[in-house]
């Protein structure tokens, strides 16, 4: 029998085919880009990314870091990304917590709780997110004006936002301080829970935890004092001056209307995912746990919950990615997220193709990283090969 020449070998043929396919796609993209470039320059429209270093000349509504009209486009876009990440983080975190409660209510033995959960889900799942957003925005902006603010202690609630006492420090240092505190809490949790510290005596563990806590508080204090705004009192209280409430920390209604809408809407979906996860836990495992004499809480926290999470995670990843994309609705109520900054930049600079490119790449990176991290978690907790199959 003659040897088969290389172009008839299945493996090589497949690789060549795939290579050709990729090359064709690359060629289409390159042809498209050069055609667009040629047509644009034929019409005299300037293209390229040079505009990113030009000053914008407009104000950015909400930003974590300081922005001014003299700042370049790239700085605005970067702040837009930070806003989207912040909204995504807050939205996902709250939606997960609320969704967990709703899902547990839906799958509990208590009939009123089940009914409440069902009503919640049917209401908030079936109304479009943008309608809910307009509703919440209308609700929060109809609150009284600053002169007739609802006041509880030093916290004031008006149609312009929620004002509460704050520290006279820069936003960056506040963010750093909060990050340090969160990191310290995580380390303490790790020390308390992780098996690695199981062998260490409990007295020493407690001492270690206390040490980490003190270090965290000290670190946060250093960060705050480094970011102090000079010649101002440390604590700033909100008070009415002129047209508006000055001082303290103001949370704009656009932010909490959007966060609220995303939380409430996302929780309806996450609730159903949670319910599905618990449904998937076999009765056998639960009965086995009960037969071992575990308390109901232990049955829940050691058996049902871990098994449910394993079933939920792949669907949750999808839902999280979707919720991040939903933050783009902020444009409708004036929250300057990534999408709104890009939309504004397009109308101001006219560089449509470049900015849409940045927008797509940005969301791709954000969502891809999120999915990658969660997929890694999913792989870590998924059933391993030897665990599948008949019990031995």
């Amino acid at each position: 029998m003659t040897t088969i020449p290389f172009w008839r070998r299945k493996k090589i043929r497949r690789q060549v085919l795939q290579g050709a396919f990729l090359a064709a796609i690359a060629a289409i993209l390159i042809i498209g880009a050069t055609t667009a470039q040629r047509n644009l320059s034929a019409q005299g429209i300037s293209s390229g990314f040079g505009f990113l270093w030009r000053a914008t000349g407009w104000e950015m509504g909400t930003s974590l870091l300081r922005t001014s009209p003299g700042d370049p486009y790239w700085w605005f876009i970067f702040n837009g990304i930070l806003n989207t990440l912040l909204m995504g983080f807050v939205g996902l975190f709250c939606a997960t917590l609320l969704g967990l409660v709703i899902g547990l209510a839906r799958s509990s033995k208590n009939a009123p709780a089940r009914l409440l959960g069902t009503i919640y889900i049917e209401i908030f799942r079936n109304i479009p997110l943008i309608v809910q957003l307009f509703f919440w925005y209308a609700v929060v902006t109809q609150l009284p004006n600053p002169r007739n603010a609802i006041q509880i202690g030093h916290v004031m609630l008006t149609g312009r936002g929620l004002h509460f006492p704050g520290l006279n420090v820069t936003v960056l240092s506040a963010v750093v301080a909060i990050a340090i505190m969160i990191a310290a809490l995580f380390v303490i949790l790790w020390i308390a829970v992780a098996r690695r510290f199981g062998r260490v005596e409990s007295a020493r563990r407690r001492l270690l935890g206390l040490g980490v806590l003190v270090t965290g508080i000290l670190g946060a204090a250093v960060a705050l004092s480094w970011g102090r705004i000079p010649e101002t009192p440390l604590v700033s209280l909100p008070e009415l001056r002129g047209l508006n409430i000055r001082g303290g920390f103001q949370l704009r209604p656009e932010i909490y209307a959007l966060a609220f809408a995303i939380t409430v809407y996302g929780a309806a979906y996450i609730g159903e995912i949670v319910r599905g996860g618990f449904k998937s836990v076999g009765r056998g495992q639960v009965e086995a746990a009960q037969a071992l004499g575990l308390s109901p809480w232990r049955v829940f926290s050691r058996v049902r919950m871990p098994l449910a999470v394993r079933a939920m995670l792949p669907i949750l990843i999808n839902q999280y990615v979707w919720l991040i994309k939903a933050t783009t609705l902020g444009i409708a109520v004036g929250f300057s997220d990534f999408f709104m900054v890009i939309a504004g930049s397009i109308t101001h600079s006219g560089q449509t193709l470049e900015l849409i490119g940045i927008l797509m790449a940005g969301f791709l990176i954000i969502n891809f990283s999120l999915a990658a991290v969660l997929n890694r978690v999913n792989r870590a907790i998924a059933l391993k090969g030897k665990q599948i199959g008949v019990a031995q």
């Binding site: 003659t2 088969i4 020449p5 172009w7 008839r8 085919l17 050709a20 396919f21 064709a24 289409i28 042809i31 498209g32 055609t35 040629r38 047509n39 019409q43 005299g44 429209i45 300037s46 000349g57 407009w58 104000e59 509504g61 009209p69 307009f134 925005y137 209308a138 902006t141 109809q142 004006n145 149609g159 312009r160 001056r241 002129g242 047209l243 508006n244 000055r246 209604p253 656009e254 444009i331 409708a332 109520v333 004036g334 300057s336 709104m340 939309a343 504004g344 397009i346 109308t347 101001h348 600079s349 006219g350 560089q351 449509t352």
Partner: protein, 408 residues
Amino acid sequence: MGADGRRPEEYLYDRRKHNCFRWLHLRLTLFPYPRRQKRKTRRETQAAAGSRPNACKQMPTREWAMNCFLKTGIAAGILTLSAAGAFAGNGDTLKTVKQRGELLCPGHNGSYLGFAETDDRGNWKGIDIELCRAIGTAILGDPSKVRIIPLSWEQRWPSLQSGDVDIMIKASGGTLSRDTDLNMQFSNSYYLGTTRVLAHKELELESLKDAEGGTICVMAGTSQEKQLTSYLQQIGIEMEVVAIERTSELEGAYFSGRCDTYIQWGPVLAVSRAASNDPEAHVMLPDIVALEPSVMLMRQGDDNWVDIANWTLSALLFAEQEGITSENIDEMKANPPTVEVGKFLGATPGMGAGLGLSDDWAYNVIKKVGNYSEIFERSLGQESPYKMDRELTALWKDGGVLFPYIID
């Protein structure tokens, strides 16, 4: 060996004979034909099978279908791209319009009150629409030979550049970046609107300066956003800026009290206030934040087309200056008071040749559309629901800044 005496890899070869482009009479194969040695085997096979196997009767496999699909897709992509590469050149808009027998102009969504709106029977009206009719009449002699294409704000530049409309008359200001980055040409300005600020009356503001620390609503992505920034720097105050993209949500935010003040292009602001629940609860502050000259925009590279737009505008203003209206134009043409007017109305030749139009184009425009004053009054002025004053948009002799060029 298969039933017809072929080896397995030869079935593979025959599948290639299912050329998916056969119906196009094209031969496009991704694989080289087998070499001589293989061909020899095939001949042997054919001899053994008695006849050439009919490839078309074999069932196509999934692999083959994938190949076919990919090839078709790639070919289609390349064809589309090369077609997109060819588009109409600039420089002959007048010829195109005359050939088409129709002038294409932008409308808004029909709700840009006073500029481009539709009435309850779906007829377009407003100052932008009337200007378009004037140009259409100058070229084609008939104001009805104008087709209005509804376009959103985002669509306006791509539509003009791709030739979906011949001229962009859409309350658009002349800006440096539109001139240089988007490569457009401007006419003279046909309307001078100022950017104004509306405030809740209960705040008792004298001017925007009193609103220090307050909140101001602005439409995201407009030139007002930039004008506001520099105006706040000028008067040296800081305000919280709330930028919202949709008009209805923006107005909702202002009227619900989210913002103390609302900055907008004057004519739009006047209309919003008039349409609100309680117009008396809001005052227009005396601040004039900026002047925005509205111009007609055209693609770069067609100078004659810009001349036609400019001279049509000039004709409307010249007629107003000389007191020529659609009512008295025939009397004027019969007995022109001056040589200038005689030439303008086409009584003596020389008015149209240089522009590529007929000599009576200006006569047609004034007769069928009216002069500038007639257009303004029925779109925005006393004959309209908005009852706006001419202010800066008046003629030079009435204290405004508009003027015609000289008809010599």
